[in-house]
């Protein structure tokens, strides 16, 4: 990237891989997330409630996947980028202490934007994707700007 915050022509190509982001989501993280979002839904941390719901463990709040997908992009492209649009579809529940991995690649390159396809998978013991937690996911990212079009 140049000092003016612009990426040089040819920096990105369709098919480029976004460096993956991997994260173990522990129960303490989930409790912190509940506090940070003012969302104390008991399915995310309460063993009694979880048992009644007949699920294998506390369920990770699916919206955290959106946060991780943005983090993956921001970590890769740095502060002179802005995720303008992001959409994702939930596929499977994720449970406390599981490891998720955000994966992605470039599908479109514009003069001042990128379009990315992403997904969130649960990582199995062999490091492979054991199941898909969120997909498809798609992001449109503005380049050369730290903020969005309404920043003024």
């Amino acid at each position: 990237m140049t000092e003016a915050g612009k990426y040089a022509v040819g920096t990105f190509s369709v098919g480029d891989t976004v460096p993956p982001l991997e994260r173990r989501i522990g129960l303490a993280d989930m409790v912190a997330y509940a506090g940070a979002t003012w969302d104390w839904y008991r399915l995310h941390y309460d063993p009694e409630y979880v048992k009644k719901a007949q699920v294998p463990g506390p369920v990770v709040d699916g919206q955290v996947f959106g946060a991780l997908l943005v983090e993956q992009i921001q970590d890769w492209l740095g502060p002179q980028s802005f995720v303008h649009k992001l959409d994702f579809t939930f596929k499977a529940l994720v449970f406390a202490e599981e490891i998720v991995r955000c994966e992605g690649s470039v599908t479109e390159v514009g003069e001042d934007y990128l379009v990315l396809e992403q997904r969130v998978v649960v990582v199995g013991p062999d490091g492979e994707a054991a199941r898909v937690a969120a997909a498809p996911a798609r992001a449109r990212v503005l380049l050369g700007t730290p903020d969005g079009p309404a920043a003024g």
Binding site: T37, W38, D39, W40, G66, A67, E71, P79, L86, F90
Partner: protein, 166 residues
């Protein structure tokens, strides 16, 4: 298509508006970053944020769509203190479909957020196994104290008929 009743159709256009009782605050973004393991200094270091062209610290982008901070609602028995439409459909299970976010600018600690929720569509479908589904689409529009757009969040909630209507 018994789930898609006239009563359900009449939900389209329903609106709820919430205005936060105070400014968003810098700690909200820093705390959220800590909770999700995102240690980007944009959320904690005002000098760094200003060097990047921002007015100061901000929050991870999706926080505005994830937090219930603005709603100022009491904590119910199930713990969820955010916006809900209160739609209950017997004989179904409720699952989340997905989200579609548009971010117009980064949130600032002195922003006072207003969230306007609206039901935009209700659709009935049948699964391959023959069970009925009801898809409720909502949109939240987040604005600042001057009515400027901060973000939009479209989400779908799906009610799936249980086998045998149980």
């Amino acid at each position: 298509m018994k789930l898609l009743t006239d009563e359900v159709r009449a939900l389209v256009g329903s609106k709820r508006v919430y205005t936060a009782p105070e400014e968003f605050g810098g700690a909200a973004g820093r705390y959220f970053g800590l909770a999700i393991g995102d240690h980007n200094p944009l959320y904690s270091d005002p000098e760094y944020a200003r060097a990047q062209g921002l007015r100061g610290v901000t929050a991870p982008l999706t926080l505005i769509c994830e937090t219930n901070q603005y709603a100022n609602l009491p904590i119910p028995a199930d713990g969820y203190a955010g916006h809900e439409w209160g739609i209950e459909i017997p004989g179904t299970r409720k699952v989340r479909g997905g989200n579609s976010y548009t971010f117009h600018r980064r949130i600032r600690p002195d922003d006072v957020v207003t969230a306007t929720w609206e039901i935009t569509d209700v659709t009935g479908k049948t699964t391959r196994s023959g069970a009925e589904m009801l898809i409720i689409s909502s949109k939240a529009t987040y604005t600042d104290r001057n009515g400027g757009l901060l973000a939009e969040n479209e989400e779908t909630i799906i009610f799936v008929e249980l086998e045998g209507g149980q």
